[in-house]
Amino acid sequence: MSTSRAFAPALVLLLLAALIPVFVTANTVLNFIVFTLIIALAAQGWNLLGGLCGQFSFGHAAFFGSGAYAAALLQARYGVNAWAAFTAAIAFAALVGWIIGYLSFRSGLRGSYFALVTLAFAEVFRILANASAFTGGAAGTLIKLDIRPENFQFASRAAFVWIALALVGFTLLLTTAITRSRLGAWFAAVRENEDAARALGVDTLAVKLKAITLSAGITGAAGALYVQYYLYLDANIAYGSWISIEALIAPIIGGIGTPLGPIVGAVTLHGLGELTKLFASGIPGIDLVIYGALLVTAIAFAPDGMMGLLKRLGRGQVTPRTTTPKTTAAKTTTPKTEGAA
């Protein structure tokens, strides 16, 4: 596939999406688009680590929240310019990602253990942010309303749609570029068989650290954008398990490891979520029941997500891909050393 063919369809879709605010001015619609794009961005971050590099994090809230708190606190407490704070927030989230990655990957945590330790970090951050006076405690933090472009605050929601689209588009290009680069090959090697990759001379620790740092930076940008849009943050929004789950489900529904997957997944999930709310309003949690059911169904019947389904339809193959029982033999001989390797 030539380079232009790899990028072209995605760019056309993004340009079309950018035209929506020109024709639609309803705030509910624009709200929905911005929120979905923020989730898509967080999910793109997860996809880089989980989809490309095979490390499943159950605690991406740790990065989303760190980005969001950094952006909010730098402005609210230190009067830093919003754009500078936004940039610093991305760097801070990436740093948090590097530290968590360094600690857990150095200890050789994989699979279930890595999922658990990320979950625990997010939960510790949540409890700390909820108790500390610096973060505003349970009352949360507000960013002062002062609508000026230099404050990253706009009178029209369309501006946020475009900024979110630009970030999602940039990440899409970045992810596509990575999958076609040497780094992407290393990611794939670590994902498919880490021991074999190491045996072939891949510095797996360095590769995984690159993945988690990039991943955390992207998800942190989603957090910073969230707080810039809503101008309010508390510990349960920033570090709550909801965002860890959103960031993880969207790529799996959309197509894990594919550059477009997280975006397709986020749009599908939130589209369905809004529909269920429309038809079953007043029943709390019903949209999440659908998310859970979709996650199970997707893994059962569409292991490559929506992207995989589209590809199969395109090729005229409707029968599900037969999943090869990947390296069952290798796994059964070393399950006990999973965590201690």
């Binding site: 625990a120 999440l288 859970g292 999943t323």
Partner: protein
Amino acid sequence: MFAPDIILAAVLNGLMTGSVYALIALGLTLVYGVLHIINFAHGATLTAAMFAVYVAHAVFKLDPYIALFIVTPLFFGLGYGVQRFVIGPASHGEDRNILLVTLGLSILIENAMLAIFRSDTRSIDVPYAFSSIDLGFTFLALPRVLAFGVALLVALLLGLLLTRTDTGKAIRAVAREKTGAALAGIDVAHIYAVTFGLGAACVAIAACLLMPTFYVTPRAGNAFVLVAFTIVVLGGMGSIPGALLGALFIGVVESLCGLFFGESLGQIGIFLIFILVLLVRPTGLFGARA
């Protein structure tokens, strides 16, 4: 400083809390030991069991301790069915898929509970809720003492089941080497499902023991299960004695942290232990032997 008898009372209380943690952790560690995955639906299963006990009491006027004999087999059956007919077929034999399927189930169950019961806090009213036993220096709540006794009994029975029965031997064989077990004629899918059923039965018993003194919300199970994760990691994933001792230890730590630092920091202590153990010795205290 606190007087010795206050500290002793805190330790006893911690042991009793720990015994309920032990039941929850036993279910988790058993499933991990056999399937080598963490069952993320464990917390939601506990919540569902607590609601089952609540409904049994509110609708059928069943005492939680009598409901135990209905809810436990019911949850064994549910656990068996879910693993056999949902998790097993859906995950195509890949570990990371099992992880995600259990996560999906937990989201589904938790929010179904939210849709049905709403987010109200519910508790049941039993006449003995405030009965206590006078030890001279402190009072122990009767339901908690009962919970302690039943939890230890269940742990003992589970141990006997695993070591003395054919099913138990088959479970241990599958845990050790599933391909070999399959070659020896053991139905691995059946054993997986039995293990899952046992895990669900453990939390069902825990729910019956909790409900006389605790309340239930659609998220009630999560707090317990995060503690259970810590216990299982501390005791060594898959180790039954590790889960038992780890649970009693964590119960006491939580109780003492609560006494010295206040409730909210008691929770932090548990998570810090969790992260430290994961980073420093992920095989846990008893896991290395496995």
